[in-house]
Symmetry: C3
Subunit: 166 residues, 3 copies
Amino acid sequence: MSVATVNDADLLARIAHLNAAYARCIDSGNLAAWPAFFADSCLYTITSADNYAQGLPAGLMYADTRGMLVDRVSALAEANIYERHTYRHVIGMPFVLDRIAERDGARVTCETPFLVVRIMRDGPSEIFASGCYRDVAIVTDDAALFAERVVVCDSTRIDTLLALPL
Amino acid sequence: MSVATVNDADLLARIAHLNAAYARCIDSGNLAAWPAFFADSCLYTITSADNYAQGLPAGLMYADTRGMLVDRVSALAEANIYERHTYRHVIGMPFVLDRIAERDGARVTCETPFLVVRIMRDGPSEIFASGCYRDVAIVTDDAALFAERVVVCDSTRIDTLLALPL
Amino acid sequence: MSVATVNDADLLARIAHLNAAYARCIDSGNLAAWPAFFADSCLYTITSADNYAQGLPAGLMYADTRGMLVDRVSALAEANIYERHTYRHVIGMPFVLDRIAERDGARVTCETPFLVVRIMRDGPSEIFASGCYRDVAIVTDDAALFAERVVVCDSTRIDTLLALPL
């Protein structure tokens, strides 16, 4: 069935599956595959709810091409940062705000809540971050990608701890 | 497609989207819009699993009209209570117990697990509540509403902290 | 609609509903019903991500028939262990890795993230476990069961605390 004609339940399932794949990529430590979830020309930022509400620029991370995401992941790998951390994302169902039909698919604006637990290897797990993904997803018959993913964290306390992508 | 004839996957998607909208409303601080998720004549209560199991009345909150929910939200707004709190709901998939066809839709009895994280602006986030929504949702072609939402919290420790709706 | 011909959204909804039923069974304390989520000949193990990555045997629990699961639940009931504990599972959307058509349904290999909160009756709730279910689900028109559920916990710290199934 072409995305251009799928009903809402199918579109929702496609986006939920995209989020499941995204979380699985990060949480399994396969960071090299993470940039492939984004379009070549994209927007990926991490910011706080306070900054977002006030229209301030994203303080924690900003990238507007897939190449910048690749660079970021390479830097993390060289610094061996991410081998010491493990995350577990729990991602809610997307709430679709807008859906625009395109030539070969749909451009979907949606918001999705997330919770990220940080696992200490020998200690208690803790809530590392919670918030809302503000996304523009491009869904075609063959693929689903993020054109935009603005990660709005509920807390302002996150910045100093951030090592892995959210 | 009419709700009267949708298959289970579509119905599940409709209810999951209703829950996503509900959580988004509370977590974005737009409490004035919260009563609109309920039918005029409705049941909204918050209770503990112990009270629920023993058939005791809901100790924390009880409303059986949408008007009572409006009043509650107004009281919170006047007291400025909710500006100091932020919640993040993570809501699981609904488990459908019963589905009755009605003239213009379906009346669905279901249970849905939830987790609510409370965000401290400058401190660590913590698990504020977990539990199970025991719902009766009315799903028509144009809308989905709660006729009943009984919020059964796992812990009995919740009462003294409750400011926002769950 | 026969499972043999359902589209991906419907299959995803079936597996998500299976997970919702599974979590509801444990979290409501109805452990006697838990083995019925598995095929007669099955695999259920609990292990840690470290053990799993190194190919080491599951340290925490191992069962390869439904009868062994029944025995386990009976032992917990006799020891009255589970009456003192309450869990709340929050289960993400499944990520489908493989789908094989069978005579009367589909055999689906998938991974699903989970988070389990442990509720203290009079104290704070805490994150008890997080991880990933590595499943083989058998989905037919009438039923959905686990042929395999390998519970891979993110932390190695879980073993000494485990009383209820995950």
